[in-house]
């Protein structure tokens, strides 16, 4: 098994390619997932295609060349239509990966997820399966403003019948994507666009990471930080800073936000007695509040202090660079709420 240092984007591309090689029922469908359909000069002499975009971020580049336009399907800009089609295809034997270019466009694709894909199996008494992977993109930081920067995995996670995965690094992205495609259920795979350029060691081989299991990326005894996606980096930064003050922080990368790994989180909090959850979602009715709620119920007796959530403010994502940076949770904000929790652990003040 060779490990290569590749980007988050490449890791996802590779996962899709390996899944498509392994199972001819896997298809990729979305707006400009190839691009350049019916453009003559993009067709090679051997009948293979070049893509013009390969996804708006170039993430699916090359797939149309290998798998052809029958399996890498450019769609009209008609999300509701092609998401319904993806659900219909999944119910009848294909294993589609459907791309929602930005999670912000969910208003054009929600019904096929909320009322069709997530519910058919239940409504039909178990007589359907929907092996559908929804790839989408969330997150602020790229200056893409209010309609292209939201973090909406929490909205998907609230829907019974939907699993939601949020990878934080290239290794996880590949393994979780392959696991998502293997699932016989609707899985939303939500990628933070700010991680696309992140590099990491990724095995060349096909491997999966279990959906529903969190990853303890750093063990600690005094404080638990649960983080999602890009926020795992913030959690690690905070843990490093706190370590200088001899505070031992456990960092949990949630990996799957629905259903999230209650066992791992509760076990950690029972050990440390202190919890911070970092989630770039707007602050209400999100994964962070869900975790806080479960911990406040199930691990109450173990808590040594209030449960803290660090989220985006309750505003749209602003455009201006300084405002956008102020919008995103960062180490300073986490350290600020950590103060209150660790006051009894510390010798001297830190910030």
């Amino acid at each position: 098994m060779t490990n290569r240092n590749i980007t988050f984007m490449t890791a996802i591309n590779e996962a899709m390619a390996q899944a498509m090689r392994k199972d001819e029922n896997v298809i990729l469908i979305g707006t400009d997932v190839a691009g350049g359909a019916e453009v003559d000069h993009l067709v090679h002499d051997d009948g293979r295609y070049d893509d013009a975009f390969g996804g708006v971020f170039g993430l699916s580049k090359g797939l149309v060349t290998e798998f052809g336009r029958e399996r890498v399907i450019d769609t009209p800009i008609a999300e509701h239509g092609y998401f319904s089609a993806a659900v219909g295809a999944a119910a009848t034997g294909l294993r589609p990966i459907a791309e929602l270019m930005f999670n912000d466009f969910v208003g054009f694709a929600l019904d096929p997820i909320l009322n069709q894909g997530a519910k058919m199996r239940y409504m039909f008494g178990g007589k359907a399966k929907i092996p559908l992977t929804v790839r989408t993109v969330h997150g602020a930081g790229a200056g893409a403003a209010a309609q292209h920067s939201q973090t909406l995995y929490g909205m998907f996670g609230a829907i019974p019948g939907v699993k939601v995965v949020v990878p934080s690094n290239p290794y996880d992205a590949k393994g979780l994507m392959l696991a998502a495609i293997e699932e016989d259920n609707l899985v939303v795979f939500s990628e933070d666009k700010m991680l696309y350029g992140m590099k990491g060691d990724v095995p060349e081989d096909y491997y999966t990471i279990e959906i529903g299991k969190a990853n303890v990326v750093r063990s600690g005894e005094e404080l638990t930080i649960v983080a999602i996606g890009k926020m795992v980096q913030v959690a690690e930064e905070v843990a490093n800073i706190l370590a200088k003050d001899d505070i031992s922080t456990e960092v949990i990368d949630l990996r799957t936000v629905a259903p999230w790994d209650q066992e791992t989180v509760l076990e950690s909090v029972k050990k440390t007695g202190r919890l911070i959850v970092i989630d770039e979602s707007n602050p209400h009715n999100n994964t962070a509040t869900d975790i806080a709620s479960v911990v406040a119920d199930q691990a109450f007796d173990y808590l040594d202090g209030p449960i803290k959530t660090v989220c985006a403010p309750n505003t749209p994502v602003p455009f201006a660079t300084n405002l956008e940076q102020a919008y995103i949770p960062n180490a300073a904000k986490v350290l600020k709420v950590a103060e209150e929790l660790i006051v009894d652990l510390k010798k001297e003040p830190m910030i």
Partner: protein, 315 residues
């Protein structure tokens, strides 16, 4: 159409009608929860189309789905039990009238979401095309649904990908209490087909044979890789939009108001020698019996086990 087909059609028409009349009565007695939309009056459409489909062809249906389900071969006992919310229902009692389904029979579900079927059917057709199968998918939808954006998206997608799908509009003139002539800027649904570069055919939806013939051509086109067809069937629902509707919007002048596709077909089939009067009588009696048995089956079926509330979320 041959004799065998005609007999099958007449049987299914009668099963549907008796089924719906029975559901109407049962609902009146308070034995059926929720919203129920009856198909009575529109039998020519479901049967005219389904007479040409195989088990492995797919259909998507609507909130008014009982007729489609029966004609596609769903188990009638299981349907009745489902509508009453019983354990032996097709969906274990968890779906109800608006979600009657049997994917193994190619019935991808009644659907409580108006306009929910266009894309699903296109997707089923995409499966067929991708796997190289010789099947089709049929999307049933109402005149009201033709104004949803999903109509536009579904038809356009199916057309550009040359998918083997047939869009069958049941134009019963109303979406709930709103007349089609008000809600749609176009006079017919069929005339919207050119916008998607596909044939749009308008047929007498009270006449099984007309539906049958139009569908036959559409299936041939679809299987020849020539893409989708839109068929608009002019029809009429005998009952209200749902059970309980006063129907204040219906008028004396509504076309098809005084027509009934079942006696019409009986007469035509006998005239054409596809069926004898005796055969027709027998079919009617048997259909009646089938439905009576279904009611007995459904009533005898217990309520679902409470733990099934939590099952069938994930595969």
């Amino acid at each position: 159409m041959n004799k065998e087909t005609a007999l099958w059609i007449y049987q299914k028409m009668n099963e549907i009608r008796y089924f719906e009349d029975e559901v109407h009565r049962t609902f009146g007695k308070g034995l059926i929860p929720g919203f129920v939309h009856l198909y009575a009056g529109e039998e020519a459409v479901a049967t005219g189309v389904m007479a040409l489909l195989e088990n492995d062809d797919y259909i998507t249906s609507t909130h008014r789905g009982h007729g489609h389900a029966i004609a596609k071969g769903c188990d009638i006992n299981g349907m009745m039990a489902e509508i009453m919310g019983k354990k032996d229902g097709l969906g274990g009692g968890k779906g109800g009238s608006m979600h009657v389904a049997d994917v193994d029979k190619g019935m991808l579900g009644a659907n409580g979401i108006v306009g929910g079927g266009f894309g699903l059917a296109a997707g089923a057709a995409l499966s067929i095309k991708t796997k190289g199968l010789d099947n089709v998918a049929v999307c049933f939808f109402g005149d009201g649904a033709s104004n949803e954006g999903t109509f536009h998206e579904g038809l356009n997608l199916a057309s550009i990908l040359d998918l083997p799908v047939i869009f069958v509009c049941e134009n019963n003139q109303f979406g709930e209490g709103t007349p089609f002539r008000y809600a749609s800027a176009s006079e017919t649904v069929a005339e919207r087909a050119p916008a998607y570069n596909m044939p749009g055919i308008r047929v007498d939806g009270m006449d099984v044979e007309a539906v049958y013939n139009a569908t036959k051509e559409a299936i041939e086109r679809a299987k020849a890789g020539q893409g989708p067809t839109l068929i608009e069937c002019d029809t009429y629902r005998q009952y209200g939009h749902f059970e309980g509707d006063e129907q204040k919007y219906k008028t004396e002048d509504d076309p098809n108001r005084d027509r009934d596709p079942i006696p019409e077909f009986r007469e035509k089939a006998i005239k054409n020698g596809w069926m004898t009067g005796k055969e027709a009588d027998k079919i009617e009696q048997e259909a009646k019996k089938t439905i009576e048995e279904a009611v007995a089956f459904a009533e005898a079926s217990p309520l679902p086990d409470e733990e099934t509330l939590y099952t069938d979320i994930f595969a």
